[in-house]
Structure formats: structure tokens, C-alpha cells
Subunit: 259 residues, 2 copies
DNA sequence: CTTGACATCGCACAGATGTTCGTGTACCAT
DNA sequence: ATGGTACACGAACATCTGTGCGATGTCAAG
């Protein structure tokens, strides 16, 4: 199931859940979802939520208030665009089929009486290990399985050279992308972002190939060139139109585990 | 406010919230907290929750179900013991004032109808970053010594391939030992041990040279051969009598921070 | 046109959940 | 004793919130 195949409503729902949870540290209720996605009926929200759950994008705890969570590995694997870092997400990114549905206000995901929790100067932060990434297959996780909440790494912010937000980690599997920098079994820490600069190592989703790989990024006019770090000539750069490549995140750290 | 100054109940509450949220991806309700911390009255839970909120350890969204979240930065700053994650937390760590309060079952943080995803027991542990290692200057540190508690990395045991004891980390400084595996700025995690096996990457103190470097170890009769990973011919293996080389530890992981 | 799957709506209802309030106990200073 | 404070209990109360169900609209296949 591809993220872009979802109905606009469902995409908006997922976006909202992600944003709301990020801001409030607890999931939204069905009615809150409905309000912000402009669905008047709670049952419709439930209907779509069930759909999303059957696709594996979210998990639900029946009969529990706010008992839902997004399945990030599955989302990433499906080409979920992860743009909305901290800011109200852009409707434009949601697919532009001029829907007959009404547009939403959707500027704030938190209610007035609960401003986003201000977590100032957090020196330490956790990086969840969301799953595996392997050449030839998308970010591989059991789509139904929520990521292991215990699998995370905790670092001090000063250790990295980027803001310590929107970080996640993946375990590299397989030899196919072995190169000087990333080996089988390594853990790569990425920062969610949909753009990157030339020379950055990124996890990129290649449309058509339907796979996510780690490559160095370089722009070439309308194209992007994805360069494997491995100098071995059998690993050739991949050149694709920019709109066929979706960047999932930028690699900010590689953790190598020696045997 | 120090974490250890909290009443045992409040410590238990925080711990439960942390664990529950980690497992379920949504916060517990007041009654769920009460059940697992053995507080029969919801109002008592609310009372303590308000206290915790006034201390800044958690945030609450009034009138919203499960509208609470923990403030990790504040918790960590107050000395919250993080490493008991994953397993039912040890009462011993909670302060041993033999409370008159009843003891709790507290073996499960999840409700029966929402079993936790079964994970391989991954204990967590901290790795202190003891200092820098640079060619020319020895690492004048000793794992037993005190270290800045801010400077540490927390990992799950399963992440490494060695027992998670006697670990420490060093930040690599300088280019002198640049090679394919370890670059300037990297952090290496070592296990303190006096011996190592052939092929291990070790931090070795070379008597006479009066310096500590990272090299691959190989024995040669009475000698040891310290092989730089860098294939560049200018980096030649160092061969010394075994008694002139002192192994400080074995490298078990390398953390590379990209710019 | 009929049919049925799909998506939606509105609404009632039950259960889940936070809050309030009266009460009790222990401790401590006055 | 007296009063105050901190903490705890339980029950009643008011919402919040998920679910169920019938009705409606759309659209493509038969």
C-alpha cells in the first residue's frame, strides 16, 4: 500500500495524528481528528481509522480513548512525505485533486487550553530504531507491528551536528549497500527531512524501483543523482527525475557495531 | 526538585507513565495509573499528578482523557534513573524507606487486553564518554573514575555483540589515526579489557612511544603487531614486544557523526 | 433501471475517564 | 487540646470519547 494511494482524507488524518502527537505527546481523540480534518461524523473518522489500521499505518486500542498510534516504519516504507517539521503542514503536499470536500482550517493541532509543551534545552534525546533498511526492499518492518518502543538510542544533543528533532534510526541489513561508510548491521541515525543538500547522505525512496536506499545526494538540473558511497564500479549512480525520488531523511550518524 | 525526593508513590507513578507510554504509544488513564501503582482512589492519583505537574515532571491537559505527558528533560535533569527501562523496575532503586503503604503487583504495565509486543529482553545501559583519544596523548582515564554524568550514551544491550559491562567511550581527536573505520570526531565505544583476540580493534598504549592509538591487534610470537586500518602505505604496522604494549580496551562500536 | 460496494452523515448510547467533594488519618507547631 | 497541613479514601458527578446502526449519496457493473 502506497501512502499516496490513500484518500486525501486518510492522508490528512495521518498527518494530523502525527502532528498532534508530536505537539501534545498524546494522540488525538476521534472527535479531535474529525474537527481538524473536517469530518463531522465520528463514525466516519472511525471508518477511515479502521481502514488505515487495516493498511497497517496505524494501530488502535479498541475502547480506549486516544488509543491509537501511528506506525512510522510502515509509513516511511510507503513513501510518507515527512515534511511538516514543527510547522503546520502544507496542504499542497497532500495531493491536489481539487476535492469536493471542504477545506479545513487546520492551522493548529492543539487546543487553546493546551499549548504545545515547551521542552526547552533538552540536552538529551532518544532516537527510536524504527526498523531495517535494505537494498532491494523498502524500509522493512512488519507493517502491522508497531516499532519496538524499547529499541532506542539515547544521545546527548552535542554529539550530533544537527538539531535533535525528528530523528530516527534504522538498522542496515544486507550487503547490497556496503560501502566505506555503511556496513551490514550498522545503525544509521537519520533526521526526517524531505530536502537535503548536495553531498548529504540520505535515505531516498525511488519511485518505480519501489525501494529505499542510502545514497549520497547530488542534484543535476531537473534530476537527482544518487551516488553509492562504494567506489566499486559495480555500484553505479542512479539518476532519476527529482519528482521520482522522495527523500525520507538525512543520515546524521552511523553507528558501527564490531563483532 | 530532585527525583529521589519524590514520594515513592510519585516515583512509581512517573515510572509507570514512562513505561506505559513507551509500550502503548499513548499515555495511561488515571485509573490505569491507580491500578498499577495500587492507589484505589482516582482522586489520589489526580492529587499526585498535580503535584508532579507542579514540579514540572509531567504536563497535563485538563479534562482530556489520557491528556498527560512526561517531561523528559526535567526528569533527566533531576536524576531520573533511566536504565531500569524494559524490565519491571527494581523497587530497590526507589528509595528504601520501608513504606507503610502496600506493595504493588506492578508486574505489567499494560492491560491484559492489550498485551505488549513481546520483545527480546533488551536491558539498557549507559556508556560514559570518558574523554578523548588522540595520537600523542594517552588517555588518562580509568573506567572506575568519576565522569561527567552528562556525557554518556545510552544503548540497548542487544545492540552490541559483547556483554554490556566495563564499557566506556572516547571521542577520537585528530587525524593521526584516520583510517577507513575511524575518523576524527568519531566516538568509539570500548570494553575495558587487558587482553584481546587477533583481529580485534583495540586501544593500545605503546610504551616508548608514549601514546595510545586505535589499531587492529595481531599476535606474532612474542610480539604484537598493531595494524592500522588505513590501507594507505604511509601507515605501517607497528610491531612491539608484547610486554611493551598495554591494551586498554577493545573497540566494540564506532559512532560516526556526519556533518 | 437496479444492485451493491463504498464513503459519508447524524445520532443515540454505553463505557471510559477526569473532577469535585465530604471524610478520615497522621504529623507538627502553637 | 487546637488548628493547620499533607496525604489518602471513596463515591457521586459531569464529560469525554468510542461504538453501533440506520439513512443518504455516489458510482460503476450488470
Amino acid at each position: 500500500m502506497n501512502f499516496s494511494d490513500l484518500s486525501e482524507r486518510q492522508q490528512r488524518i495521518i498527518h494530523f495524528i502525527v502532528e498532534f502527537t508530536r505537539r501534545n505527546h498524546y494522540p488525538p481523540s476521534i472527535r479531535e481528528i474529525g474537527d481538524h480534518v473536517c469530518i463531522s461524523s465520528t463514525s466516519v473518522v472511525k471508518y477511515n481509522l479502521s481502514k488505515l489500521e487495516s493498511y497497517g499505518f496505524i494501530s488502535r486500542a479498541p475502547d480506549k480513548s486516544r488509543g491509537l498510534s501511528v506506525n512510522f516504519p510502515a509509513l516511511l516504507a510507503s513513501g510518507y512525505p515527512l515534511q511538516q517539521n514543527g510547522e503546520p503542514f502544507q496542504e499542497a503536499t497532500l495531493g491536489k485533486k481539487t476535492s469536493t470536500t471542504q477545506r479545513a482550517p487546520e492551522l493548529e493541532y492543539y487546543t487553546a487550553d493546551e499549548p504545545p509543551v515547551e521542552r526547552a534545552s533538552s540536552r538529551r534525546f532518544r532516537v527510536p530504531i524504527l526498523g531495517k533498511i535494505a537494498a532491494g526492499s523498502p524500509i522493512a518492518v512488519n507493517p502491522r507491528e508497531a516499532y519496538d518502543p524499547e529499541d532506542w538510542i539515547e544521545l546527548a544533543e552535542g554529539l550530533l551536528n544537527v538539531p535533535a528533532d525528528n530523528l530516527f534510526a534504522l538498522r542496515v541489513q544486507g550487503d547490497s549497500m556496503i560501502d566505506a561508510s555503511v556496513l551490514d548491521g550498522d545503525i544509521v541515525i537519520l533526521r526526517h527531512q524531505e530536502t537535503a543538500e548536495d553531498g548529504d547522505m540520505v535515505a531516498a525512496w525511488i519511485e518505480g524501483d519501489e525501494e529505499t536506499t542510502l545514497k549520497f545526494l547530488q542534484r543535476e538540473g531537473p534530476n537527482v543523482r544518487l551516488i553509492p558511497a562504494n567506489p566499486n564500479p559495480e555500484y553505479q549512480p542512479i539518476v532519476r527525475p527529482a519528482d521520482k525520488v522522495r527523500i525520507n531523511g538525512k543520515v546524521v550518524s552511523v553507528i558501527r557495531v564490531l563483532k
